[in-house]
Structures are given as structure tokens and as C-alpha cells.
């Protein structure tokens, strides 16, 4: 590769923030690490800079100066997504695109052999800029040169687009680059450029004039590595092109609309088998299958896609278990139209070799694995939420003290303490209104056993005021009832047995 290009998307996170918040275009905006008062400002737009605030300032300090300052943050996944989009865009201009992991927004491209496609390299750089602007709405500059280091240094520093005609010209320009612009972004670890600057070492040329061993003694390994990199550009590593990960997905399209679930099961078997083989090669097992049925288009239906998620009791490569679960799910669903396409996505997980399990003797009659398999089958047949349990919560209202939570895995049972004879309260999921009981006096036919006990609160969202009573009905049933002061009605909360 004789030609390198470096694309620098200016302040990528800030540009993404402004894309995310288009209303902020005419306002001072700052990118912050966290949305907290003591968080530092990382990047600023021009309006913010004009108002006298600067990067490194604390958010609270900046806010006191510019009350209309808008701040936001960009999540890592948003940055990754944007990087993927940019790479996709750049792949249209070069087969070799390498994103720089230490600094979002920097990309190297292989700029060799483009003569037959573009009249000049200048045309190529302009096309890249235009594509980024028009397709993703991002502003960038492009520098074409002869080395990884020099193109990066110049693109990062000067923010201009251009092409170097000779290595000497590029080398000369790189030497004049201010050191502080590069140190942190290149190595990911900042070495002490402040001290170097105080010593009068301001440019790459000044830096390269220092004695390297002495430099290492004083400024450490990162400074030394950077020195070697800037000095010996001929030994720098070749371009590491970006390779998008291939998803573990199998698909099949039909020329007809398939209605028969048995046939679909066999088709799915054919799709699942290569996925298992692929995962096995990577020492992984199937933790989850996502099956997408594309249904034939019917005029009366808007959505022609059906997604089903299948999770085995534990990660497995046993196709029989997977197919059994798929079968159960197929039996429980109704296909409203024929299937024209099938996609199966397998999510794998690393295989854990459980050698110790071979030596463990089964001491209990209860087989946890079987139980979990059974629960997986129930889940496959009746849906994700069919296996749930009640979790207790710290709250005052009885119905708020319990929450249904999906149940994933059965744990070994523990013996309960000495059984405690207690009345069992059978709660109504929603308190049931007592008929004909409108006044705040105890409803007729009920004998007071204990009360009132008062629960009131929730003033910050929805005010509640209840008076609870234990009562005995004429049929000797014990009822836990309450008078709701807000709704002015009596309700049964639970029955006691």
C-alpha cells in the first residue's frame, strides 16, 4: 500500500448530539461525560465557546455563566453505531477502512490504486466529504499522504482536506504539528505534554530532537513509544481493514406460502443444524433462537412479520432439545397466513466445561436440570411470561408488596424453618369492591375483629388513604377489608384461611 488517507470526522460525539437534538442548533451546546453538576465539559459548539465557556469546565460552573447552555451525552453504543455507519459509507470509496479505536471519528483508508476510478485523489477526497455530509450529515476532513502517522497528525491538527504529492512534503508538514494535539489521542494514554511544552518542546520536530533514552527516563514508555512511531514511520503497522461480524443467521425463502407447521418444523431443522455447527466451531452453545416468520402479504393485514424467541433450559447444541422446544412453540401459535420466508438467528454463549460434574454424585431425588427443562418447555409452549414468581417488595400498600417477575432458572430448594402455623391471606390481585357498602361505617353483615389500621401516602404521585379492618362475615369467613377515603368505597383486600 503506497497511499494512506486519514478521515477525521470533527468532534464526532458532539456532532451526533446535535443530530440527536436538532432543536439545539441555535443554542450553546456542550457534550459531557455524565449528566451531573460536577461533570466536565468535553466538547463545545461554537456558540458555547463564544459565550466564554471552555472544555474542562465543570457543568455547574458553565451553567452559572450560560443558563441556556444545553448539555447531553452520547452512549457508547450510539458511538459504535455511528462508527459502523461511517465505515459503511467509507467502504464505498475504498475496500480497506480502519477505524481508530483510541479516538472516535478517525478512520484510515487505503488510497492506493484509485486512479481508474477517480481522475485525481483530490476528487476522491471531495467525494468522501460530500458522501459523509449528504448521507450521515457529518462534517469531516480528509488527508491523503504516505504514512499512517503523518496523515493522522495533519488531519487531526489542520482540519483541511488535501493530498500530499511527495513523502518529503508530508514529512515536513508532520514535523510542524503541535505535539499536544496528538499525544493523548494517539496513544490513548496521555504522557506529560505540559512539561514538554514548558521545556519549549512544542512541535513534533522539537520532540524528535530530544535524546530518546533520556526522554524515556523522564517521560515514560508512552512518550518513548510515540517518539519511535513518529521517528520510524517506515515500520508502522499495515492497515487493519474493518471486517463486519457475520451474524449467526440462517434463512430460507419459499416460492409458495407454507401453512403446514410440520413441514415448517423440518425446514427449521435444516436451518438450525448449520447454526449449531457454526457455534460448535467457536466453542459456543445455543442460548437463544430468534425465529422470524415472514408471512405472505394480505391486503387486510399491516404486519406480515412474526417473531418467536426460544430459550432452552441451559445453553445447548443438542438439536433434539431445540427442535422439541420449537415444536412446542409451533403448536401453540397460530399462523394467520402462509410463511414465505424463515430466518433463524442463534445467540451463542461460551461453552463451560463442567468436568467437576462428572465426579458429583446425585444425592437428591429432585433433578434440577429436568425441572428446568420442563419449565423451558412450558415457556416454549405458553410464552415467556408463563413461568413467573412473586417477589416481595418493601412497600406499604399490600398490592405493591408483591411483583410478578419472569422465572429463569430453578435453584436448589432449601428446607424451610420450623413450620409456623399462620393464617393464610389470599390476596385479590385487584381489591374487590364490596357491594352495597358506600358509607364509611363498617358494611352490614361484617363483625369487626381488629382495626382500623391506616395506610396513607403516595402524595408525590397519587394520594392514597385507606383504613384497614379484619372482619368476620356471617359465614364465618375472615375478611381483610378497607375503606378507601379517596374513592369513598369499601374493598376486600384478602380472605384469611
Amino acid at each position: 500500500m503506497d497511499r494512506w488517507a486519514c478521515v477525521n470526522v470533527f468532534a464526532l460525539p458532539l456532532q451526533l448530539l446535535l443530530i440527536k437534538q436538532p432543536d439545539w442548533k441555535e443554542l450553546p451546546v456542550a457534550l459531557v461525560q455524565e449528566l451531573a453538576p460536577d461533570s466536565r465539559l468535553l466538547e463545545l459548539n461554537r456558540l458555547a465557546k463564544n459565550r466564554g465557556i471552555h472544555t474542562g469546565m465543570r457543568f455547574s460552573e458553565a451553567l452559572s455563566l450560560v443558563p441556556e447552555l444545553r448539555t447531553g451525552r452520547i452512549e457508547t453504543h450510539e458511538l459504535e453505531l455511528a462508527t459502523e455507519q461511517i465505515v459503511t459509507c467509507l467502504l464505498a470509496f475504498s475496500p480497506g477502512v480502519e477505524p481508530f479505536p483510541n479516538m472516535p471519528g478517525i478512520f484510515w483508508l487505503n488510497a492506493s490504486g484509485l486512479q481508474s476510478l477517480y481522475p485525481t485523489l483530490n476528487d476522491w477526497t471531495r467525494a468522501i466529504k460530500r458522501a459523509l455530509d449528504e448521507t450521515i450529515n457529518l462534517y469531516a476532513n480528509v488527508v491523503v499522504g504516505f504514512t499512517r502517522f503523518a496523515t493522522f497528525a495533519i488531519a487531526r491538527t489542520y482540519r483541511k482536506t488535501g493530498v500530499f504529492q511527495s513523502p518529503e512534503q508530508e514529512h515536513h508538514a508532520a514535523l510542524a504539528v503541535p505535539l499536544h494535539q496528538l499525544a493523548k489521542t494517539w496513544t490513548g494514554e496521555q504522557f506529560n505534554t505540559r512539561d514538554l511544552e514548558q521545556l519549549g518542546i512544542r512541535t513534533v520536530a522539537d520532540f524528535l530532537a530530544l535524546p530518546p533514552t533520556n526522554l524515556r527516563r523522564r517521560f515514560g514508555k508512552h512518550a518513548y513509544d510515540f517518539y519511535q512511531l513518529a521517528k520510524n514511520t517506515h515500520t508502522e503497522k499495515p492497515l487493519q481493514p474493518f471486517q463486519p461480524p457475520t451474524p449467526d443467521i440462517s434463512s430460507r425463502q419459499f416460492e409458495y406460502a407454507e401453512h403446514n407447521t410440520t413441514r415448517l418444523l423440518f425446514l427449521l431443522k435444516q436451518l438450525i443444524h448449520p447454526l449449531c455447527t457454526r457455534l460448535d466451531a467457536r466453542n459456543e452453545k445455543v442460548a437463544e433462537l430468534l425465529i422470524t416468520f415472514i408471512l405472505e402479504r394480505l391486503p387486510q393485514r399491516e404486519n406480515n412479520q412474526l417473531e418467536e424467541r426460544i430459550r432452552p433450559a441451559e445453553p445447548t447444541l443438542d438439536e433434539r432439545i431445540l427442535l422439541d422446544l420449537v415444536r412446542l412453540r409451533l403448536e401453540s401459535i397460530t399462523l394467520t397466513a402462509g410463511v414465505t420466508e424463515l430466518h433463524v438467528l442463534a445467540r451463542g454463549t461460551r461453552t463451560v466445561v463442567e468436568q467437576l460434574g462428572l465426579f458429583v454424585t446425585q444425592t437428591t431425588r429432585r433433578d434440577l436440570q429436568s425441572a428446568n427443562r420442563a419449565l423451558a418447555r412450558v415457556r416454549a409452549e405458553f410464552g415467556e411470561h408463563s413461568v413467573s414468581y412473586l417477589r416481595l417488595r418493601e412497600a406499604h400498600l399490600p398490592e405493591a408488596q408483591m411483583q410478578w417477575v419472569p422465572f429463569h432458572e430453578l435453584k436448589p430448594a432449601r428446607l424451610a424453618a420450623e413450620p409456623h402455623p399462620q393464617l393464610i391471606r389470599r390476596f385479590f390481585l385487584t381489591p374487590e369492591p364490596l357491594a352495597h357498602a358506600r358509607s364509611n361505617t363498617l358494611p352490614p353483615g361484617l363483625k369487626l375483629c381488629a382495626g382500623p389500621h391506616i395506610i396513607s401516602g403516595g402524595w408525590w404521585v397519587r394520594e392514597v388513604h385507606r383504613e384497614y379492618y379484619f372482619t368476620q362475615a356471617s359465614n364465618d369467613a375472615l375478611l381483610w377489608i378497607f375503606y378507601d377515603h379517596k374513592r369513598r368505597r369499601w374493598f376486600t383486600q384478602a380472605e384469611l384461611r
Binding site: 449528566l35 451531573a36 453538576p37 459565550r51 466564554g52 465557556i53 457543568f59 455547574s60 451553567l63 452559572s64 455563566l65 450560560v66 443558563p67 441556556e68 448539555t71 512539561d195 514548558q198 521545556l199 519549549g200 530532537a209 530530544l210 535524546p211 530518546p212 533514552t213 533520556n214 527516563r217 523522564r218 517521560f219 417488595r393 418493601e394 412497600a395 406499604h396 381488629a450 382500623p452 389500621h453 391506616i454 395506610i455 396513607s456 401516602g457 402524595w459 408525590w460 404521585v461 384497614y468
Partner: protein
């Protein structure tokens, strides 16, 4: 037929002094109890009696009985309520809490059941349902029953929860077994039910959770308000005896804080003498020292009058203690001086406590002490700030920790902290709260603040925030320590009030703040730190050592014309109380010529006289531009010295006494109401009284109204004359030293930092402008402190100043002794020699190199830094042991450019807060001049109304509350200062730059007064764009 229910006494009440538990103040609880016609109320805060002082006053004023108690946290047991039956019981309670608090970290209390039983004397114990979550353990009943006998009660509490009945049944069963009478209570956490949300929020703040995630940490219902008698009777309808017993307990607990008979500790009184006789003897010894053999008759007369008052009030012990502390300071050469109203006392003057002669000054003794008020005197003793801790520890040692403790200071919720804490508990974003808190400042949260923050104040969550924030204001958040207030007692202090540990080591603190101590008429003494005294002490020592001149506060020549001439030029950097921007602007207008002028000058530039509109009339009369008139002939003696304008608190009191026939007691009440009118509004009650009485005496109503407005102005802080007189002595002393011994003065001032108004950079620059020769920090010559050296032969001053290592940022003091030791043996020859012989750490060597302290070893500071950065190598290795060294030695030695003057100044300020190489704008002057930007001297000579462009470093920004939004700034350059006035409209336009820029460009017009006081009235502010290397200079923040 309805029957009137029997009243009851709420016995389980927590106020907001159960920090972050109770949601009402003691005052509110007592007021509500009074409204409900309850006969009494008990205050039972957690492990403390913090709130009983103000509760006592409130109960007394409303005529309701206050039962004093506390909820005591016990190890392994449910809390116990203890109520003081009598004085003995109150002492037991205080001792018990002291025991638990002193052994535990600050904020906690650790007590066992056995210890509680050992302190049962005079206390009633309420055992039972004190905790919602847990049932009480019956195992504690045996020991409690034995210790408390018939003073033990079984407490049944109803919280309207299902557990109540079961727990109360168990309690009553156990009580029956031990034959203990039951007593009923609800757990009162607020006075009315509308405080329930606030109680929830306080709980969230205590547990650091939000209201949405608080779960069962908050109470399940709102059944914690004070109940009316009929509601209480309904709740405990099944336990009438338990209700009746609340009244029985009320009958038994008759203790009141009025029973605290305070006696001052009396130490070292010679046998056969009463404290008063001993005080008289010491005073008469002192009077001879002050006046020699010829004692003026007026002094003797004044002393006799003071003796009589002190004897009547039995305050001799207090004066003896103050005298003892002052003597301790003197013996240990610690500079101290009494301030405040104590300077009105001739006795204090003779005892050496104060330094102002009140007879000569005609000061009013009643301002300090009067039979009518019979309040304890309040003497504030200023002590050199670097040695105050010695005096504090002496007091502890002398009187013992059992008899001396510091006074607490309640840290209270203010708008900012309230918004932050309440908002966080409501789950609001921290950034929003920060914005609101910043905008609110010291104002309550209201619609204007919502508007300013761009938020909708009508949403439910915002309305909750607004309501709760305003409710929580002034609630105590936690207790801290008063800066210098001490409580001394003859009896063990823990018999009066519990003592606990302070955060600071070796400090103990009582559970009352200064308002409680004052309200209960206890004696306190204030030992305050004052930097100016430290500075004076340093300066006197330097003069003695280097010039053999032995000066002291007493021997400084009085009324020195050169000193006053210097002050009239507003040349007052470093002069105590006169160095601020406002004081300096006033000096050329007031033109002080004698000591009393300084007293007036100090008093004049205060919010009181400024808002009272007294400054301009006084100055006009002084300049002869306005006729001196008096509102009434009777006021002439009072106002004559201040040309008919009241400037001091004493004058206000005397006006009230003479013109409105106030008694001395009424006059003192007027003074107190003046000080607190913004919070209490009590000044209005004097309005009618003053005006009508003055009119009756023939004073014109409009003049009477003006006098009242002037008096009201004092509420914004006015000085008593005695206080100003004490300060003026120190001001004069510092001004005299500055005028005649500038080098020694600057050295002392720099060694006493941090203190005063200006940064070290400004002090150094000012001293250089005044011809003081200042040498930089040097490894071969400097010490930790700044020192004096012989000056260059032709220099006008005999001594020059050498900056000390203390000014190198981040340099630890223990770095210096090895340097001094090694230097004594032989001077350092190279950086390597320095490191080898001193073993100075790499980071310290680097700091020394950056600051230029290695200049004598390596003149190129960059080269010195390069050498220092490798000090680890020099220190730990030699070429013999480390082969890499050979390689390093073979490498070419890099050459570094020498620093320019501007860079050198930049490096100095960055590393040592100052520069001896010049002012940062000095090297830039040619460039500035080329841009039409002249220095301060040029500005000072321009005629009035000249349009001018100027650039300087910001050294001071002030927006005083009394200035209606006007921003005052002081800019500095190599030639001096320029004072800016930024009107509110201009400030709004240039707010960001005005608040942030350290190097500021200004366009404006010169305003020159007839007294030649120059201000630059700002039209525009801008960033001067001259050099990117311009060093940032630290600037003062708003005050």
C-alpha cells in the same frame, strides 16, 4: 350528651432537633400544643437536648409546661424515653447523654442498659413501644424496675398499624407482671398533619434514597401529628388509665431550665479574698500601669461605677477568667486584644483585656453591661490566628474538660442546600437542581426562579419541590462547632448540657448554640483568630531581630503624620480594615488625620451607614459643604463627634434614650431588634414609639422619621463605637508599620498569609512599587518563611526581603529542614549535589526547579527542570550500578531556550502565587501602548469624563448587597490599581466576561471626584487579544 375529654400530655415528641426525623421545630410543637389547650408537652429528641433552649423560651412565653427529656438509644435494646423529674434528673440525663456521645464518633451515641440504670436518679423512664419495627424486650424490665422503681412506666404507643395491638398487649402483660403503670402516647414527629410529606422527605434524606424507592423506610401513614385531647381519648379509649397517667407524669416532672443556677468557675483566688476583692485588686494594679501615678478622677469614678455593677450582678468570676486568659497570652507572647462592646469598660482596659481607653473616648458602659438587663457580659478576644489553638487547649487544660466545652453551631438549611437535598429526595435530576440552586442563591424558591431556569413551576413535582423547600428552610441539618465560643462552668458542664465530640481532634462541644447559651443567661467567652495580630506579632519580632527596634501596640508612636498622609493617598494594601476597595476609595474623601478619624472611617464603610444614607451627609459636613445641624438640642452631645450624623450603635441607643425617653433596657432591646429585624420584624414595634415620643419632645416628624430610617439601616450591620475603636488601633498599627518599615511589614504580611484582602501576587507587586527590594526563592538562601537580608548598598531601605519556600505550591514543610541543615555545612554546587545531600523527593525537586529556586545551580530554568525530572535516576542509581546510565551519558545533552521575562513571570505565578521578576503586564506594556492601552498611572491623571480604553488583571470583584446590583472591580497593572464601576445594565450584557476573565479590557469614562477619587465607569468589557502566553492571574471571587 358529649363530655369534654380529659386533657393529656404528649410525652413522645421529636422536633427537628432529632436531625432528619422530626418535621417541626420545638416552637411549632409548643405553639400547637398551646392551641390544643394541652397542659404540657414533653420534648424527647434522639440522644440530645439540642432544642430545649428555644423550647423553654417558647413554653415560657405561652405559659405551657415543658417536660424535658430524650429518647435514649441503647445497645441491644429498644430506645428508652427518659424525662427529667427535677434538677437532679436533668443533670443525670445530661451526664448520661454525655457518656454515650463522648465515647462514640460524632453524631452517634452508645449506651448500655446498665449505664442508663446507673443514671436513674431524678429521671422517669418510659419503657415500651418506642420503635415501630421491633417489639421491646422484657429482659430489660427487671434492671429498669430496680433502678427506676416507681418512676418506671410502660409506654403503649398507637401508630394505627396492625402490629400495635400485639405489641401493646405484650407490654401491658409485662407491665402487669412487674407492677408498672401504663402510659399512653402517640409518636409525634410533626405539629400538624400537613408536615407529613416533609417528614417523608427528611427520612429520604437521612437514608439517601428517593421518595420513589424509599419503600418501608418512610412511615406508613400520617398519624404522627399532635392530637387534640378528644382524638387522643378516642385512640386510647380502651386504656383510660394510660391517658390519666400522662397527667400524673406531668405533675411529677416539674423541672424547668430556669432552675439552672449558673456559677462561673473561680480559679486561683488568693485565700481570704472574695472574687470581687481580687478583681478590684487586679484592676487597681492595672490602672497604674495604664495611667501611671496620676489617675484621672473620671477613670476612678468610672471604675467604681463598674465595680458596683459587677458586684451587684456577681460577674467578677467572668472578668477574672478573661484576665487569666489574657495573662496566659502575654506570658506566652501570644498577641491578643479584646474587641466588641468590652472596649466600653474601663475595667477591661485596666485589666489589659482591651486596648481602648473608654473614658478618654467617652464610650458608653451600659452598652457592655447594665443592671437592668442583668445579662452576662460578652467579651470577644481576638488572638493571633496562628496561635489560637494554644489558647483553646490552655482553657481546656486550665478548667478541665468537665468544666469547659465549645459552643455548637447549628448548620441549617438555606435555599440552596434545601433545593439540592429536597430535590434529590424527590428524584429530580441533579443538573436541574444545580441550576435552580444557583439561580436561587439566597432567595426562596418561587415563580421567578422557575422562570429564570426555563422550567414550568406548575408541574406537580415542581410544586412539591417549592413547597417542601420553603418548609425545610432554617431546619437544623446537623451540629457543628462555633469558631471560638466557650462555655465555662463551676459545676461539671455535663450537669448543664450534654457534651459531645467535635469532628476536630481535641475539641469537645456542648449541644447548645450561642443563641441558647445567651437565652439561658449562661456565660460564654469568644476566642477568635485574627490574622492581623499574627502579622503585627511577626513584624515586631522582625524589627527587634534585624533593626533592634522594640515596638509593641502600646509603644507605636501615636498620630504619626506620615502614616496619615499615606492613608490619605489610599496607599493601604495590607492595612487592617482599610485595605478593601471600598475603604481605599473612601480614604481620600475622608482624609483621616487622627485616630478618631480611623474609628469613623472603619464604621462608615459598613452596610448599616451606607443603607441608612449617612455616608454622604457625614462627608459633606466634614468637608464644610453642609451645615452641621442636630434634630434636637438634646442630641448635640451625642452626635457632636460625628457631626450630627449617627454612625455608631451607641449613638442610636443614646438618641432613643434622649430624644424618645427610652430606658437603657429599652434602648438595648432596640439594639437587639435592629440586629434581628429582618428575621423577626420587631423593629416596627419601635417605629410608632420612637416617632411619637420624639415628636412630643419637639423634634419635627419628618426628621424623626429620618432618624428612624437611619436606625433601621443599622440592621444591615453597623459597628459599635467601641468595636470600631478596637479595630482602629490595629489599623493604625499596621498602617504605621507599612509607612515606616515597608520591608518588614511586607515580610510579616506574607508570613501571616492567608489573611486580608489581597493575594500574595498583589502584595508583592505593591511592595515592589513602594521600593521594597524582593529576592526570589533560592535554594541557597531561602527559609520556609520569608526572611530579611541586608539590601543592596545603594538601596533606600536597609533590608531586603527574601521569599520563603512556603510560597512554592505543594511543597511540604518537612522538605525544608534537610535543605537548611545541608546548606549550613556547605553551599550546594549542582542539582545532583543538592539531591544527593538532601534526599529531596523527585516531586519536591521538580517544584523547586519550576519555581526558579534552583536558579543559583542552573540559571536556565528549563534546563533545571529537565535535570529535576531525572532526579529519580540521580537519587537511586549511579553509573556503577546502572549500565543504562552510560548510554544516557553518551546521548547529546539537549539545549533549551532560556525563559523570556514574560515566561519567567508566568512560571513564577503558576508555581508560587507571585513573581519577583515583575508584573505580568510589564513586559507587555510596549505592545499594550502600541494598542493605545496605557497603565494605571496614566489613567489616574486623566481629566473627568475622558473616554478611555484600558486593560488590566482582575484582582477583585464585588457585588455588595447594598449596591443594588452594581459590580465593583479592581484591575491591576505594573503601575497600580484602577477601580471600575459596572452598572447593572452593562453587567447584564457582559456578565460572562465580567465573571470569568482574569485579563480584562475595558472601555469607559473617567469619573473624578473633587477629592480626586478616580473610577472608571464601564461602557464595554472585552478580551484583550495580545499574546497567547498571557498568564492567568487568580482573581478574588464575589463577596
Amino acid at each position: 350528651m358529649t363530655t369534654t375529654p380529659r386533657p393529656y400530655t404528649p410525652l413522645f415528641c421529636k422536633s427537628n432537633y432529632s436531625f432528619l426525623q422530626g418535621a417541626s421545630s420545638p416552637d411549632e410543637l409548643i405553639e400547637r400544643a398551646h392551641e390544643l389547650s394541652l397542659p404540657a408537652i414533653a420534648l424527647t429528641d434522639s440522644d440530645g437536648v439540642y432544642g430545649v433552649g428555644r423550647a423553654h423560651l417558647q413554653a415560657k412565653s405561652l405559659g405551657i409546661q415543658l417536660i424535658i427529656g430524650a429518647e435514649i438509644t441503647l445497645e441491644n435494646h429498644a430506645p428508652l424515653l427518659l424525662l427529667a423529674k427535677n434538677r437532679t434528673g436533668y443533670a443525670s440525663l445530661c451526664r448520661l447523654i454525655t457518656l454515650g456521645r463522648r465515647r462514640a464518633p460524632k453524631g452517634q451515641c452508645t449506651l448500655t442498659l446498665q449505664e442508663t440504670c446507673e443514671h436513674a436518679d431524678g429521671l422517669l423512664a418510659l419503657w415500651g413501644n418506642t420503635q415501630a419495627q421491633h417489639a421491646p424486650q422484657t429482659s430489660s424490665l427487671g434492671p429498669l424496675s430496680e433502678a427506676f422503681s416507681d418512676r418506671l412506666y410502660a409506654l403503649i404507643v398507637r401508630r394505627m398499624q396492625p402490629e400495635d395491638d400485639q405489641k401493646n398487649r405484650a407490654i401491658l402483660h409485662a407491665a402487669n407482671t412487674f407492677n408498672i403503670p401504663p402510659v399512653a402516647a402517640t409518636e409525634v414527629l410533626y405539629h400538624t398533619v400537613d408536615r407529613r410529606p416533609l417528614q417523608d422527605i427528611l427520612t429520604c434524606i437521612r437514608h439517601n434514597v428517593t421518595i420513589q424507592t424509599a419503600g418501608k423506610r418512610i412511615r406508613p401513614n400520617a398519624e404522627h401529628a399532635l392530637l387534640a385531647a378528644h382524638d387522643f381519648a378516642r385512640v386510647f379509649a380502651d386504656h383510660p388509665a394510660a391517658i390519666e397517667n400522662t397527667l400524673a407524669i406531668t405533675q411529677r416532672c416539674k423541672f424547668s431550665l430556669d432552675e439552672l443556677h449558673y456559677r462561673y468557675p473561680l480559679e486561683n483566688i488568693p485565700p481570704g479574698l472574695t472574687p470581687m476583692q481580687w478583681l478590684r485588686q487586679l484592676t487597681l494594679q492595672g490602672v497604674h500601669k495604664r495611667y501611671g501615678h496620676t489617675i484621672p478622677a473620671a477613670v476612678l469614678q468610672q471604675l467604681e461605677s463598674e465595680f458596683a455593677t459587677i458586684d451587684d450582678l456577681n460577674y467578677a468570676g467572668y472578668f477574672l477568667t478573661m484576665h487569666e486568659i489574657v495573662e496566659f497570652c502575654r506570658a506566652n507572647q501570644i498577641m491578643c486584644q479584646g474587641r466588641g462592646s468590652a472596649a466600653n469598660s474601663a475595667l477591661c482596659y485596666c485589666l489589659g483585656i482591651t486596648a481602648v481607653d473608654p473614658v478618654k473616648m467617652g464610650l458608653l458602659f451600659e452598652r457592655f453591661l447594665s443592671r437592668e438587663r442583668a445579662e452576662p457580659p460578652d467579651i470577644d478576644l481576638d488572638i493571633a490566628h496562628n496561635r489560637r489553638e494554644e489558647v483553646i487547649q490552655h482553657v481546656y487544660q486550665k478548667y478541665g474538660r468537665d468544666h469547659a466545652a465549645m459552643i455548637a453551631n447549628a448548620v441549617r438549611y438555606r435555599p440552596r442546600s434545601a433545593i439540592r437535598d429536597v430535590g434529590k429526595a424527590l428524584g429530580m435530576p441533579a443538573t436541574t437542581l444545580d441550576q435552580l440552586a444557583k439561580i436561587a442563591g439566597y432567595s426562596n424558591l418561587d415563580e421567578h426562579i422557575w422562570q429564570a431556569a426555563g422550567l414550568d413551576g406548575t408541574t406537580p413535582i415542581h410544586q412539591h419541590l417549592e413547597r417542601l423547600t420553603n418548609q425545610i428552610l432554617d431546619f437544623p441539618r446537623h451540629m457543628s462547632i462555633h469558631p471560638g465560643g466557650f462555655l465555662l462552668t463551676h459545676e461539671p458542664i455535663a450537669h448543664f448540657v450534654p457534651v459531645e465530640n467535635a469532628t476536630m481532634e481535641n475539641r469537645t462541644v456542648v449541644q447548645w448554640d450561642k443563641y441558647d447559651v445567651e437565652a439561658l443567661h449562661l456565660f460564654k467567652l469568644d476566642l477568635l483568630g485574627l490574622g492581623a495580630l499574627t502579622m503585627l506579632d511577626h513584624c515586631f519580632r522582625l524589627l527587634a531581630r534585624h533593626r533592634n527596634i522594640h515596638l509593641s501596640m502600646a509603644t507605636i508612636p501615636a498620630d504619626d503624620p506620615d502614616t496619615y498622609a499615606m492613608l490619605r493617598r489610599a496607599d493601604a494594601v495590607g492595612v487592617f480594615q482599610l485595605e478593601s476597595r471600598a475603604q481605599m476609595a473612601m480614604l481620600p474623601r475622608l482624609k483621616p488625620r487622627c485616630y478618631y478619624d480611623l474609628v469613623i472611617q472603619i464604621s462608615l464603610v459598613r452596610p448599616g451607614p451606607i443603607t441608612g444614607g449617612m455616608v454622604h451627609p457625614y462627608l459633606a459636613r466634614r468637608a464644610g459643604e453642609e451645615e452641621i445641624t442636630y434634630p434636637h438640642p438634646s442630641l448635640e452631645p451625642v452626635l457632636k463627634r460625628t457631626l450630627g450624623v449617627p454612625l455608631f450603635q451607641e449613638q442610636v441607643m443614646r438618641i432613643a434614650m434622649l430624644a424618645a425617653d427610652y430606658t437603657p433596657g429599652e434602648a438595648d432591646q432596640l439594639r437587639r431588634d435592629m440586629a434581628a429585624w429582618k428575621t423577626t420584624g420587631n423593629m416596627e414595634r419601635h417605629h410608632e414609639r420612637l416617632i411619637s415620643r420624639m415628636t412630643k419632645k419637639g423634634i419635627a416628624p419628618e426628621f424623626a422619621e429620618r432618624v428612624f430610617q437611619q436606625i433601621k439601616g443599622f440592621a444591615d450591620y453597623g459597628f459599635p463605637e467601641s468595636h470600631a475603636a478596637s479595630f482602629a488601633l490595629i489599623s493604625y498599627a499596621t498602617a504605621y508599620l507599612r509607612c515606616h518599615f515597608p520591608t518588614e511589614f511586607t515580610c510579616a504580611l506574607l508570613n501571616a498569609q492567608p489573611m486580608g484582602f489581597y493575594s500574595p501576587a498583589t502584595i508583592v507587586a505593591d511592595a515592589r512599587r513602594n521600593g521594597v527590594q524582593i529576592h526570589p526563592i533560592d535554594i541557597q538562601h531561602s527559609h520556609w518563611d520569608c526572611t530579611l537580608e541586608p539590601a543592596s548598598p545603594n538601596h533606600p531601605h536597609p533590608l531586603s526581603l527574601r521569599m520563603g519556600f512556603r510560597y512554592i505550591k505543594g511543597l511540604a514543610p518537612d522538605t525544608v529542614p534537610p535543605i537548611l541543615t545541608a546548606r549550613q555545612q556547605a553551599p550546594f554546587t549542582s542539582t545532583q549535589d543538592f539531591i544527593t545531600r538532601t534526599h529531596t523527593s523527585p516531586s519536591a525537586t521538580e517544584r523547586l526547579a519550576r519555581s526558579g529556586a534552583l536558579h543559583s545551580l542552573e540559571p536556565n530554568r528549563r534546563q533545571a527542570l529537565w535535570n529535576a525530572l531525572d532526579s529519580t535516576l540521580i537519587l537511586n542509581n549511579s553509573p556503577d550500578t546502572h549500565p543504562e546510565l552510560a548510554l544516557i551519558d553518551r546521548e547529546a545533552r539537549p539545549a533549551f531556550q532560556a525563559l523570556t521575562q514574560l515566561e519567567a513571570i508566568h512560571w513564577d505565578i503558576k508555581t508560587s502565587y507571585h513573581s519577583t521578576h515583575g508584573h505580568p503586564l510589564g513586559p507587555l506594556r510596549p505592545t499594550l501602548e502600541a494598542n493605545g492601552l496605557h497603565n494605571a498611572t496614566h489613567i489616574q491623571n486623566l481629566p473627568d469624563q475622558t473616554l478611555v480604553h484600558y486593560a488590566g488583571l482582575v484582582i477583585c470583584r464585588q457585588r455588595p448587597q447594598t449596591a443594588s446590583g452594581v459590580l465593583f472591580m479592581t484591575l491591576e497593572d505594573e503601575a497600580g490599581f484602577v477601580n471600575l464601576v459596572v452598572w447593572p445594565k452593562i453587567y447584564e450584557i457582559y456578565k460572562t466576561i465580567a465573571r470569568t476573565a482574569s485579563f480584562l479590557g475595558v472601555t469607559g469614562r473617567i469619573q473624578r471626584s473633587t477629592d480626586n477619587v478616580i473610577h472608571l465607569i464601564v461602557d464595554q468589557l472585552w478580551h484583550p487579544r495580545l499574546s497567547p502566553d498571557q498568564p492567568p492571574t487568580p482573581s478574588r471571587d464575589f463577596r
